[in-house]
Subunit: 326 residues, 2 copies
Amino acid sequence: MSERDGRVVVALDVGGTGMKCALIRPDGAVVHTERHPTGADRGAEAVVDTILTVADGLIDTARTAGLTPTALGIVVPGIVDQTRGVAVWSANIGFRDVPLRDLAADRLGLPTALGHDVRAGGLAEARLGAGRDCGHVLFVAIGTGIAAAHVVAAAAATGAHGAAGELGHILVRPGGPRCGCGRSGCLEAIASASAVARRYTALATGTTGNADTTPDGGAAGPTVVTAAEVAGRAAAGEELATRVWREAVEALADGLATAQALYDVQTIVLGGGLAQAGPGLFDPLRTALRERLTFHREPRLVPAALGDEAGCLGAALLALDQLEDS
Amino acid sequence: MSERDGRVVVALDVGGTGMKCALIRPDGAVVHTERHPTGADRGAEAVVDTILTVADGLIDTARTAGLTPTALGIVVPGIVDQTRGVAVWSANIGFRDVPLRDLAADRLGLPTALGHDVRAGGLAEARLGAGRDCGHVLFVAIGTGIAAAHVVAAAAATGAHGAAGELGHILVRPGGPRCGCGRSGCLEAIASASAVARRYTALATGTTGNADTTPDGGAAGPTVVTAAEVAGRAAAGEELATRVWREAVEALADGLATAQALYDVQTIVLGGGLAQAGPGLFDPLRTALRERLTFHREPRLVPAALGDEAGCLGAALLALDQLEDS
């Protein structure tokens, strides 16, 4: 029993700039955390080496503390083939067809699971966070991009090629702003945190013709305004911010209404930076979503509960699931 | 063994105008079919009575032929709660919260499954038809309306409230034509067979100012033109038909691209009346879909294989699944 109590899984959530790492007990309790830079500019091979070195260090840390690491869970962004354990395509990290699961398992000698960061975050929110006991959950992460995880019966749908849940790349405004993916009018190009900041900046610049002066006369140039600041200015009644924020909320409501038509979930959990706008986002978004649903049941719309630990917790859950299945 | 060979399930696919009925062997072989009018104008209670009477008659027919009916499968359109066995909302039939499964099981004494017509059709196409051996299939039925079934590992997703897969009611043209559901710009309002016919008729009328003359001088008035005729005229190079058909194909490609972004399937199976346009639909649709997919894998796009028997076969599969589970 005491040995069992000392069991932990090693969890890594690898992002474009940094990796969040933790030792997590089977009950979800986080006993240790670390953060490391990803160093994606060094190329895929160097990033893989860093991941394995960091994981190795976490295993040592666990053992030194008298804990027993039983499994490893790694999550990355992009397209992830969870069944084969391959990071198929992660633009932020420069991964293309990296068999990360087997590389890690071979080097570290622990059963390893590889997953997708947002799907893992959704899994954690659905099992441990804001979507607990809901059965059918859609987790939507809104930050630099927009991605979603559809979780049914405590499992996140992966799709046939590891690319399910790309809510950021559904068409909501035909002929609209160009998206990073190459298409025009994607949800992400209008309602992501970076799109909100970019759109406000562009309009502010166009309006004043002076990129160094914000419309409210503040010192910060419009080129450095953040989505949170746009939300704040909208709440304060500033006209341009109100317009940009409203457009983002309406596009988001269109995207969520489409997701609800296809998935029919009980609860939508919103996470990522933009969700931190709180009632400034949730109140108008609930209203706009309700207006768009005709015969469909309205899902509960709630903020994420696990913050930026969701991905790491999800990585741990994937590792634990694998232990159970094996 | 001989008794086992004589086993059949009774299957009913209840639509707004008619019901397709069959006796089907466990291996999917159809041994008997019947069609009956639904008589939806008589009200929900009368329709339920007809369904039960028809099913009773099929049981008799089976026994008279020396067959053993082991289960009953009924599918209806609208919102269906398969778990509780309740037809929640079927506008075409006037059903609202009808506990059809238990009503049928009580009266007929057979284990009964209640399902959704398009999801059942998708199940049949995925297991026995054009989506065999594909793992992740999206079945899209395009007729009077547009609806879809997402089938993974040979099970169709139902959603939290029995309303998943409503592809017809996703936004593709903001501010576009009004949909029967009350919103504007739904896929169904542009790309369903009835929308294609309606749009062509409206434009033809507006163009000629004469509802009795078709633009090609034919005898049929534009008010009675069908989607199949629009497709035929487009293939023959008629300008207006080409435009209406292209608009429908492009809207459909937008809708399928959105579905692929969210579901990430291997194969999309197109059924319903519009899919019978053959290469006139599939060729331009494949091209338009390919143009819209950036980083996503392109799904195979194939015509349905089971025709209008798919719903009935799906009802039989649901009945058989229930027998296996019990």
